[in-house]
Subunit: 340 residues, 2 copies
């Protein structure tokens, strides 16, 4: 797999992005093109004197899209920005996939404008793996689109189920609709209409409404929702986990010698658990629904997260999921009489 | 304060509800009417032989509204259900407030149909206190209504700010709009329109958009949102906290003698922290926007939670918040030219 990595995107770019890429080319069978300001990239690469012997190359791009910019406008106007150049390399066939930890909006806009949507997909979705007590649940959309129509949520269900099947290797995944109650009459208009479409579908294993607490229970393999709700939930989860951790640390600090000794003895166990729950172990989230492989990483990604994300991108590309999604969509369109 | 308690509502009703009421009348200056099946209530009261010397009475109601029923239909049809009878006691002036741990939908429907909405409020909202790293944030609406219009969210802001000021005693509370980004251009149509109204208001201290992770950071005193999003967030938080706890316990079980000893030493510290984060310490959530004091408790409430909720109801009634909300709404309506 040949991957275009946006070296300039993310809070810790370019250093952590590049160090993550170096780790990844040593760990996974892949070739990486670092896209961005060549001088800045070379500066970081000095830390790895032999880098030219690694499957790493540089593609210069002198513009950067920042977090505050309007994504679609910025993608249209900054043709030489690292994310646009990296995405163009997938479009031209030079690379198999693109990865960025920069503005999520800009990554999604570049993918939509340059790679275009898959025929039959109204809106692409970000599919985020969430650690649960039983494994991983894929939640989508976690922020690519808001005010989605029921058919967009249904498309999220189709894409999410195929992803779980072909990338995570789980057959017949259980798909849940994020809602505020179990009964099919519950929820807002969007959820109620979506339920009615899903319950009659035979192509996905619809397992009913998933309430907020079901996400981490792990009884659903895929949870589908509007990007507004998904994004709020994801960031709330991050914040809650960080707050709990912070309060535990403070409590231990204030807890005297006994508490500190207890914490010390418990540390290896908690570190192992932390590793299992650490989202950075899962790396990036794929943007599903565009004509190409695009992976979005967290803005706060460090080298380890980027390395994991590249590993995930590797599995993603090798799963050939794009072709599976296209085939499934063609079947759906055929069934609904749209030959478009 | 005289409180009508729905003795039949909740997963642990009637026993835990009644035991909680007994604890509360001993702890707070209040009088309680237990509403529900008299025989079943008397059965539980046997555990407290001297109960007739406590400020406790029984009001018989022989019907129950269950979780699966359509809330408004059930309230209309089951005139003698515990929640309807309890709410009627507030309407008639016999009681100052009503509390239930039964179907949230039924409590909210009974309050709306019997007590009616405050003039100027389009939709009542459930205001849930969420523990944060700095104290408590009030989130509303957490599930009374979905598909809210921007003006409903604005009304949530007005009511939430008054609640924090008059019940929690915090002056000039910071109000945030739950959204997927800080910038005012971010979000779905509902959030973008709400932002435009809020930013021009002088009656509340609008502090901008709050992202999911800001809820537990504690930088906002009030976070307003649609009931669909609020309910999902609340249940997700519950699920996540329970999952983390479960995984920590499992990790300790598997961690051998060292981990178990560490856990033992750390236990008192973690128990203190757990108590601070325990939502049952906060008891119930008020339904704001109706003409009367109505408190909704978690379906899984035990006696301790019910006792705390009764304490919260006591503060709530004594705050005279209803009159403050009415006065603020009249000012808003006057300002916007609606004299209705």
């Amino acid at each position: 797999m040949k991957l275009a990595v946006d070296a300039m995107g993310g809070d810790n770019a370019p250093a952590e992005i590049i160090l993550g890429a170096i780790q990844a080319v040593k760990k996974y069978p892949c070739e990486i093109v670092l896209v961005g300001d060549e001088n800045k990239i070379r500066d970081v690469l000095k830390e790895e004197p032999d880098w030219e012997n690694l499957p790493l190359t540089i593609k210069h791009a002198d513009e950067i899209i920042t977090m505050g910019e309007h994504p679609a406008d910025a993608v249209r106007n900054k043709k030489n920005s690292s994310i646009v150049v990296a995405t163009q390399m997938v479009k031209s066939g030079e690379c198999d996939a693109v990865l960025s930890a920069g503005s999520t909006g800009a990554s999604a806009a570049a993918a939509q404008l340059i790679l275009k949507r898959i025929h039959g997909i109204g809106r692409p979705a970000i599919a985020t793996p969430i650690p649960t007590s039983k494994g991983v649940t894929l939640m989508l959309d976690s922020g690519a689109n808001v005010d989605s129509k029921p058919e967009h949520l249904v498309q999220n269900g189709i894409m999410g189920a195929l992803y779980v099947e072909h990338v995570f290797g789980k057959k017949n995944p259980r798909v849940g609709l994020l809602n505020i109650g179990e009964e099919e009459t519950k929820g807002n208009e969007q959820a109620k209409e979506t339920y009615q479409i899903l319950k009659n579908m035979t192509t996905i294993n619809f397992a009913g409404n998933a309430e907020g607490r079901d996400i981490t229970e792990g009884d659903f393999d895929v949870v589908i929702c509007d990007g507004f709700v998904g994004n709020v939930v994801l960031k709330f989860g991050e914040g809650l986990a960080m707050t709990i951790l912070k309060l535990i640390k403070e409590a231990i600090e204030d807890g005297g010698v006994t508490a500190k000794l207890g914490a010390l003895l418990l540390m290896p166990t908690l570190n192992n658990l932390g590793k299992r729950l650490d989202v950075s172990e899962y790396g990036g989230a794929p943007l599903l629904g565009v004509n190409g492989y695009c992976v979005i990483s967290h803005g706060r990604s460090d080298a380890k997260t980027i390395c994991s994300a590249i590993g995930a991108a590797n599995d993603y590309v090798h799963s050939n999921i794009l072709e599976h999604i296209k085939a499934a969509l063609d079947t759906e369109l055929l069934a609904t009489g749209d030959k478009g």
